[in-house]
Point group: C2
Chain length 298, copies 2
């Protein structure tokens, strides 16, 4: 049977592999690592890069355990007890506004009463919308999903649109991707088949992002594009601090703040009532982010 130790071992090796691939894609930056312990049990390896292509990027591994506060068990709808949670979390903020921001997370959760599930997802936040990149990104994710269950992509893609949504802006964070949670022993799946899917999601990350970096990193840009990038980074901050359940969970459970907030961008800006010029690339991007999204209660 699949053990926690095996999952932890895999997540660690995934972190290693992704860091190596990102360093290669960057060409100059190297990850620095902080190992940390969680007072309540467990800990993690936080890794951050400041490179030539990746202005600020984090690839974090953590495996924590302990007793869940009742406040959280109530929210999760699980019995009080000991929990174990492990995962890899990534956010990359590139230097160039022509390269998209990307986020990936894969995680495993189990309770002492035997409840278990996997969760995760990958989503893309281009500063400038490129239809070709969007098509590529979603095609890659669909391929990964379809290999495991043809129902995955049709469920997980709308779930991402729904999850990465700034209700107060009526904007999505980006062009979506896939998001999934509480994938347990339902729908004919077992721990091994869920794990096989999550592994493939994790392993899809580096090739996808490396491709998008290579394709876009040498495109020219100027002050105008940098200014727009700072505004989009501001929206990224808004999503993560106002709406992201993972961030809330971390801050509520006395998680390691510096690891949770490694998702925060460098140099974000807020301009009151900013409205891009009609027909500009900025306006076209906003239009794409304001596509109709059915907001489901999750």
């Amino acid at each position: 049977m699949l053990t926690k130790e095996e999952i932890v071992r895999y997540f660690k090796s995934l972190q290693d592999d992704i860091c190596a691939a990102l360093e290669k894609a960057d060409g100059s930056g190297k990850f620095i690592e902080d190992q940390w312990d969680r007072p309540g049990g467990g800990g993690g390896r936080a890794r951050v890069i400041h490179g030539e292509v990746l202005e600020k990027g984090g690839v974090n591994f953590s495996a924590v355990h302990g007793t869940l506060p009742e406040k959280i068990t109530a929210k999760l709808g699980v019995a009080t007890g000991d929990f174990f949670a492990a995962g890899v979390s990534i956010v990359q903020h590139p230097v160039s506004p022509e390269v998209p921001i990307i986020h990936m997370n894969v995680r495993y959760f189990e309770m002492s009463n035997g409840t278990w599930w996997f969760g995760g997802g990958i989503d893309l936040t281009p500063h400038y919308h490129e239809a070709e990149d969007e098509a590529f990104f979603h095609a890659q994710l669909k391929t990964v999903c379809d290999k495991h269950d043809v129902n995955y992509y049709p469920r997980f893609a709308p779930w991402a649109d729904n999850y990465f949504y700034l209700k107060h802006r009526k904007e999505t964070r980006g062009i979506g991707g896939i998001f999934f949670d509480r994938l347990g022993g339902q729908d004919g799946h077992d721990r091994a088949s869920r794990f096989a899917f999550v592994k493939d999601v994790g392993e899809a990350f580096a090739p996808i992002y490396t491709h998008l970096i290579k394709k876009n990193k040498d495109k020219p840009y100027g002050d105008n594009e940098k200014k727009w990038q700072a505004l989009r980074r501001g929206r990224y901050v808004e999503f993560n601090l106002v709406w992201d359940k993972g961030t809330k969970f971390g801050l509520d459970t006395d998680g390691r703040t510096e690891s949770i907030l490694m998702s925060m961008p460098p140099m974000a800006n807020w301009v009151y009532n900013h409205t891009p010029e009609a027909g500009s690339r900025e306006a076209q991007t906003l239009e794409r982010l304001r596509r109709p999204v059915e907001v489901m209660p999750v």
Copy 2:
């Protein structure tokens, strides 16, 4: 008897007076105004300045009414019904890291069943802690409070420390000030005496901030100080988006996002695990922000 109309008239004139005083202190910037209507009832006058001293500042007036969603009445512990809320909200982000960020809010709330209260406060967020400015700031607020009730300052100063607290950083947002809420007809006060106090708080704002601007705006600073300012602005964002009840209330009740988020700074930065050099002005400031604060459930 004091009417809603009188309170509204006063808040509008307070907005006018404060804008005039800030334009004078800035010496160059002028407020631009957006009038807006709230679909559910009421509206406001949003005013924003981009000046020489004040990089980005908002002075907003609003007066809104309608039916409170049950989600909110439950939180407030009031019966379902129609509400009326009016107030003035200010956040100023100065160009110079030597000039503190300031926030003020005064507000009035009433329900159709006759429940009413005033709330508000002023708090100061210096990028660099200056003991002299802190002493001046608190002395001014204490004078305003003492004029109305000697119990105000001893209650409202700790309330500010408690409210403007970043639990996930174990840091206060700044050096505190005063914060108060639900000042109704308790403790021998009536609507007129509460209103008289709130007026004095509102009118204390311009002289206090003008003094702090004049005293600090011509101090020299360099790249190092601008970098630190961007990090402190990042913390300001974290407080407002993660912890501030007013922001949450606004975003939850479909408030006008651009008015609510006028508190967001220009150019904020996040540096992973940033630790200032021991003994530096930055370290001394952090030490002050990490003073012990008794966190009360509010």
